[in-house]
Symmetry: C3
Subunit: 153 residues, 3 copies
């Protein structure tokens, strides 16, 4: 099943890919890979949630934010590939940064929100290496920021 069909079946749709920002770009293709910049849980121009996990954003809400980062990252990938996923070989790596209270240590649970959705959408092409860590602060006070590395042909 194509990635587009899978998204439809899951009742998901990709957002417009974010426009290039002045100082950097959403994605770069190099040596057979697409490097996607760190994605924030932006939906229709607004953040799904803000704050630290779990005191200000629940684990469940942080997982939802992680899923939104995935949709935004896939939208960036699709735009970088000229509007189609045909050239996607596989997802390679996910880097997840979770804005954490000092005593929070379930970052993998939050990152699983992203990882499981990626597996669901991409199937076997979605199996990836991952580094998930906590940080005390993130851009725009988001609970999670995720970057992606894809192999393409």
């Amino acid at each position: 099943m194509s990635i587009e069909s899978k998204l439809k079946e899951l009742g998901l749709s990709l957002p417009e890919a974010p426009k290039p920002v002045a100082a950097y770009v959403p994605a770069v293709t190099s040596c057979g890979q697409v490097i996607v910049s760190g994605q924030l849980p932006m939906q229709n121009g607004e953040l799904l949630s803000t704050g630290k996990v779990p005191s200000q954003v629940s684990i469940k809400d942080a997982q939802a934010a992680a899923r939104q980062c995935v949709l935004n990252g896939l939208a960036v990938l699709k735009a970088e590939l000229g509007g189609s996923f045909d050239r996607l070989v596989r997802l390679v790596r996910v880097g997840a940064f979770v804005q954490s209270d000092d005593d929070f240590s379930a970052q993998p649970q939050v990152a699983n929100g992203a990882s499981e959705l990626l597996l669901e959408i991409l199937g076997d092409k979605g199996r990836h290496a991952r580094a998930a860590v906590g940080v005390n602060a993130l851009p725009l006070n988001v609970p999670v920021e995720i970057e992606f590395l894809f192999e393409v042909n």
Copy 2:
């Protein structure tokens, strides 16, 4: 001297490679490189230490944890390469995250526990680029998480 012989000479043995977790995999091979997921200082199913450096985990203990991450990462690499290091060209990059007190700034000293062991085991193939940073929180409250990038053929 082979990597296996070197490990033996150093009195070290590699653990069983961690089993693939549902949501992601220990390693991915892409474009001539093996990307190893962030490794924790797990030994025989238990964490070597937990807490922030240095108030809860001494620098010396954090270095020991970093060395355990190396052994786990090498075990993952070996499994990914089909049970042998023969195809290893070199280590390329180490990313080290140290769970730090707010006023701790000797992350390189902790990361050296990993870097020096890698040089000892891998010899010239072990020279690597590195980014070492502090974070306020890590999965399972570990003092250090390390990810690895290897070149293979």
Copy 3:
């Protein structure tokens, strides 16, 4: 215009590339890419500033520190390429870690200090993917650490 000429026009000069440290190296070339280790805002052997942003280091000073990381990273790249930028194809990725107060969320503003200088010096070759995050602690108490990934031929 060559990169060297551009630097001159901007009134900038590259520092001596940092000497290899025992435990790791400033850069590794692998699979058509140069991976540059995390750079600190060191200038003539001294740190431009130390502390957390913005309580101890202003955003403006942190941007200056980010620019110094860029100059150091370019010096490392040039040394890795044998003393010339001729083989540089493009910058691919910038990873920026900003030592942040717990309530600081303008890491992109700090990282823009690096990104904008890279675009200015490298032109079209300087367009890059980026991940910018906050952390509670960094080596030597620097306000910002930046790593770089370049494509070369």
